[in-house]
């Protein structure tokens, strides 16, 4: 029994359905600053590495503003992916949670003191609801498929009609008002134009053809869409199948979870706690909760190239870098090699050095070709996506449908997707050891704390009174 298959499900679903979601407040203009698409995925990923987590802590770890994160979490709550709990906490309450965290060996002690100073404060916690996620994803896929299949079968679809003159739209429910006694068509109430059934019109527009074959073409298009969907969502389907008979991870509500964590901590003793954190996977799921699986490190590998670069640098740590002249300043204690003044002195080694140089050039070329390749793939994907978007613009009737489908699979081209998955395994999910950068981190946390507190006062979007007792 492990979290892994379910976490993978969450990650796949996040990329399939929430990759393109922009999380914005209602009062913010749609075209407002900051495109935060992708944030949804990052937040979900972060949650797969935690159990219950205080939302402020999560915000700090992700370096997001609490407000922003809350908006995202509220969205996920509505999407039924996340459960949240809000409670007024005294310092004692905060302590319990911190103790639970500490019990599982996390290094969040820095925030503890700050919390003790606050008296009564509303805190929100969140946690993935794996069982529900499983259902929600299955339901969503079912609906997507059903929607297309229904239209394919022409079953259960309410026909829509458009007036070609004035663009006014009607549905079959308006049929009674639209019938004309003079001829066999529906007429626009507005301009008396002859209405066209939308599915026929669409099909005709798409293919630039008369309405004879229109319906058949539309069917073909739908079939194509269905096929694409099946193909592109296959990893998700497979993961669903894998997870199907596994018991979903269940953390219980916040209080129960804390109690369990506390009990576990007392059982294992404090000295043990540190050890257990080093091996969170082994501790796993069997009764002992571990709220934090290591430090939050969201590494967004934007391209495979960057990752590659890092690795290359790592593999030859012994070679000393030649600093560019503009970086060299007076008073720097540099070796001659670093200054790049090595050549005249070491003539004997000239040949071998040039080999090195060549080698590094080759490396660079490799890198460059890789980069080029990536760029090519990226632009190809971009062009394809633009085309698809334009195509979907032509299908206004299917906005919802297209949204359902295009949100995920349309911009995901099979090649790209597999690439990303590869990355996932190597880079993205790498968990940092909890000890790294501890001091720096806590300093930063303390710093952000101030900001977060301040923001709490005016954040009433949750519908909760964020008052202090």
């Amino acid at each position: 029994m492990s979290l892994e298959p379910f976490n993978r499900l969450v990650k796949l679903a996040a990329r399939a359905f929430y990759d393109d979601v922009t999380i914005k407040g209602e009062n913010q203009p749609k075209t407002g600053r900051g495109d935060n698409r992708g944030m949804a995925v990052i937040v979900l990923d972060a949650l797969t590495r935690r159990q219950w987590v205080r939302e402020e802590d999560l915000a700090k770890a992700l370096k997001l503003h609490t407000k922003q994160l809350r908006r995202a979490l509220r969205f996920f709550e509505e999407e039924k992916l996340v459960t949240r709990e809000h409670r007024k906490e005294s310092a004692k309450g905060a302590k319990i949670f911190n103790a639970a965290i500490a019990a599982t060996g996390d290094s969040q002690q820095g925030t503890k003191e700050g919390d003790e100073k606050m008296k009564m404060h509303m805190h929100s916690y969140c946690c993935l609801d794996y069982a529900q996620i499983h259902d929600v994803v299955r339901y969503r896929m079912h609906r997507m498929k059903k929607k297309i299949k229904d239209e394919l079968d022409s079953r259960n679809t309410i026909q829509e009609y458009i007036c070609p003159n004035c663009g006014r739209r009607y549905s079959a429910f308006d049929a009674l008002q639209l019938v004309s006694m003079d001829d066999e068509y529906f007429h626009c109430e507005n301009c008396n134009g002859e209405l066209v059934a939308e599915s026929d019109k669409l099909a005709a527009e798409e293919m630039g053809d008369g309405d004879d074959n229109a319906r058949r073409r539309r069917r073909e298009k739908l079939k194509d869409m269905l096929q694409k969907m099946e193909e592109q969502l296959k990893p998700l389907v497979l993961q669903l199948a894998r997870v199907k008979d596994l018991p979903a991870p269940e953390f219980g509500n916040l209080q129960a979870w804390e109690a369990r964590a506390h009990a576990a901590a007392q059982a294992s003793g404090d000295s043990n706690a540190g050890d257990s954190s080093k091996n969170p996977q082994a501790q796993g799921y069997s009764g002992t909760p571990m709220p934090f699986l290591g430090e939050t490190r969201v590494e967004v590998a934007l391209s495979g190239v960057e990752a590659k670069e890092e690795i290359e640098l790592d593999t030859k740590p012994t070679s000393i870098k030649v600093l560019p002249p503009w970086m060299i300043k007076q008073g720097m204690n540099l070796t001659k090699e670093q200054r790049g003044e090595v050549k005249p002195d070491v003539k004997v080694e000239q040949s071998s050095f040039s080999v090195d140089e060549k080698k590094s050039n080759m490396d660079k070329e490799d890198e460059k070709s890789l980069q080029d390749e990536y760029l090519k793939a990226y632009y190809a994907a971009l062009v394809k996506r633009q085309e698809e978007q334009e195509a979907s613009k032509k299908v206004p009737q299917d906005v919802e449908l297209a949204k359902n489908v295009s949100e995920a699979p349309f911009e995901r081209h099979v090649g790209m997707k597999s690439k990303r998955e590869g990355d996932n395994d190597d880079v993205e999910w790498e968990e940092e050891a909890p000890s790294t950068g501890n001091s720096g981190q806590s300093y930063r946390l303390a710093d952000l704390n101030v900001e977060a507190d301040a923001s709490d006062h005016d954040d009433d979007e949750d519908g909760i009174d964020w008052e202090e007792g």
């Binding site: 079953r155 259960n156 309410i158 026909q159 429910f173 049929a175 009674l176 019938v179 059934a197």
Partner: protein, 177 residues
């Protein structure tokens, strides 16, 4: 589908009706007010079949009218999405056909008519299969499935389909009266 349900209504009665026939007056008024109406919630009220209970009247201040809470039973007709029922075709045109099932009107658009039936215009517009064996025209009896209902406060309109197994023109001659 027809249902037999119990409904409640507050009836206001003018003082001039008070007397030995108060109950009859109330019931008559109830029938006049309620029968034949349509509400989105309960559907069409076809007929009141009985009055279960008339509560104590309450004099409305200032008017002299008295409000009686009345509990009554009625036959109502309420179509539901997914329901399969029989209907009579009332009009056929190129866009599809209209049918009637009791008080409710149903529209079947041409894309919910089987693909092998084609529209034939003329004096008696109809949808016919290529071999002419099946024909839908005015007064035909069809079995259809309701796939959508538009329920307003005072009106119900349905969208139906005959594009499924066991739907379409009713062949059984014994079926109709």
């Amino acid at each position: 589908m027809f249902f037999h349900i119990t409904l409640e209504r507050n009836m206001q009665l003018h003082p001039r009706h008070f007397g030995p026939h108060l109950r009859d007056k109330l019931v008559a008024k109830l029938m006049k007010d309620v029968e034949g109406t349509c509400s989105g919630r309960h559907g069409f009220v076809v007929a009141i079949t009985g009055v279960e209970d008339i509560g104590k009247g309450l004099i409305r201040e200032g008017t002299g009218f008295v409000t009686f809470p009345v509990k009554y039973q009625a036959v109502v007709f309420r179509p539901f999405k997914g329901e399969i029922l029989e209907a009579v075709v009332t009009m056929v045109n190129k866009m599809g056909f209209f049918a009637e099932a009791g008080p409710v009107q149903i529209f079947v658009s041409n894309h919910l008519i089987p693909d092998d039936m084609e529209f034939q215009s003329g004096d008696m517009p109809n949808y016919t299969t290529s071999d002419g064996s099946v024909k839908i025209q005015k007064d035909s009896e069809v079995r259809l499935k309701i796939i959508g209902t538009r329920v307003d406060a005072t009106e119900i309109f349905c969208i139906g389909t005959i594009k499924d197994d066991f739907l379409g023109v009713i062949n059984d001659p014994g079926a109709a009266a």
